[in-house]
Amino acid sequence: MSVAVRPLLPAAGVAVAVAGALAARLVVAGTQGPASSPPAAAVFALLLLGVAAAARRGRLVIARPRIGGVVVGVAGGAGLLLCAVLVHAAPLQLWARPDGGAAAAWWTLLVMCVAGAEELVFRGVLFDAVSRAGGVVVAAVVCALAFALVHVPLYGWRALPLDLGAGLWLGGLRVLAGGVAAPAIAHALADCGAWLVV
């Protein structure tokens, strides 16, 4: 169920706030690198939740997802994972994996929080603000671009096409399901699954 709430922050304001959250992530990460720092990821997620709450007049609206949205989200996450499995990259291990059960549990929780917070902002408040002005397709494309750009400082420019495609896919889920639950579920499943399984 999507909740129509007049946003206090215009789209540009949301973008500035997201850029601020990203800058905070970079500062907290320091020389460790923003893609390697759990505290930086946690700060980023908290700030994004703040952006989403501010844009919704102080209420962090998470509408009760309809069963259809959950199904679309699970299927969407499976689709993204399928893409990763089908086109498997070179057999090199270039990223650290969570080490041990407890670390994996904390890692999974944090990844899900970051994914959920990103969706509340990108496919939530930003999508709503832009779609009012330009329709859902324009909103999905703009949000996918913003989503991809935000990840450039984390993974470099070479990851931009992948993030853009993933952003379009998540935007499609948002339009299909009519709420943010579907892309949030898909995002969390794909992030966790791709790093733990592939």
């Binding site: 090199l92 992948l162 993030d163």
Partner: protein, 242 residues
């Protein structure tokens, strides 16, 4: 849901899937498995650890039987205590020139003493690694022409803009290197195996892992804000024109 909205959703999903698949097909190794997450590399392990640093870097070795047919692609990574590995080797199919009579091939990666010679392009970061391929008789194997090996080296935190150098009996020589994946990981293709190390200009060594990040973040923020502001202005004008 009306038909137009469903059509838009399907178009977006198709476009997204195509872009994701193309990005993974065309993308260099090192792009994240999908699109987001974080990973926390283990601290670097030095052969001769400075105060407070970890020691005992891992080596790696693997043997494959040889029956006359090409063994296909071969990979080797140091481990198991390094996450991600500090040195990795990737050989494509047909990369090794294997003499007749060979019964098995052994690949190895070993951290070794860094030569005393100073690299022309800076200082050695971390360990020097020896990449070898030998037959069961102990003869060193060379790489076939046009089939370079891909070497991946992870450096200590703050490696900055490093280059992989090869030590050729007397001197270090840099080879074309690309930063890959997360911070401090670099890859290069080499036509020869041997001793390799990451080398960085002294000024860059302590400058932090991602010195370009603030600029990238600022640029991204400007792009987002500028693009959305322009879009909202255009949309407003269109509404007024109606």
């Amino acid at each position: 849901m009306n038909r137009g909205r469903r059509g838009a959703a399907i178009a977006l999903l198709l476009a997204g899937a195509v872009v994701v698949l193309l990005a993974r097909l065309a993308g260099a190794p090192g792009t994240p498995p999908l699109y987001d997450s974080f990973s926390q590399p283990d601290p670097y392990r030095y052969l001769h650890p400075p105060a407070g640093a970890r020691g005992h870097p891992d080596a790696a070795s693997t043997s494959v039987p040889y029956t006359g047919a090409d063994p296909g692609p071969l990979t080797l990574a140091t481990g198991p205590d390094e996450n991600p590995p500090q040195a990795q080797l990737l050989l494509g199919a047909g990369s090794l020139e294997i003499p007749a009579g060979t019964r098995s091939i052994t690949l190895s990666i070993t951290p070794v003493e860094s030569p005393a010679a100073r690299p022309p392009n800076g200082v050695v970061l971390g360990n020097t690694y020896r990449f070898r391929a030998v037959t069961d008789g102990g003869a060193a194997l060379s790489l076939a022409a046009g089939h370079p090996a891909t070497l991946v080296l992870r450096g200590p935190t703050g490696s900055g803009q490093a280059t992989i150098d090869r030590f050729d009996t007397r001197a270090w020589a840099p080879i074309t290197t690309s930063p890959i994946a997360g911070p401090n990981i670099f890859a290069a293709n080499s036509a020869q195996l041997g001793d390799f190390a990451l080398v960085a200009p002294e000024a860059h060594v302590s400058s932090g892992g991602f010195p370009w990040l603030p600029w990238a973040a600022g640029g991204a923020a400007l792009l987002i804000v500028g693009g959305e502001a322009a879009f909202l202005l255009l949309a407003r004008r269109r509404r007024r024109a109606r």
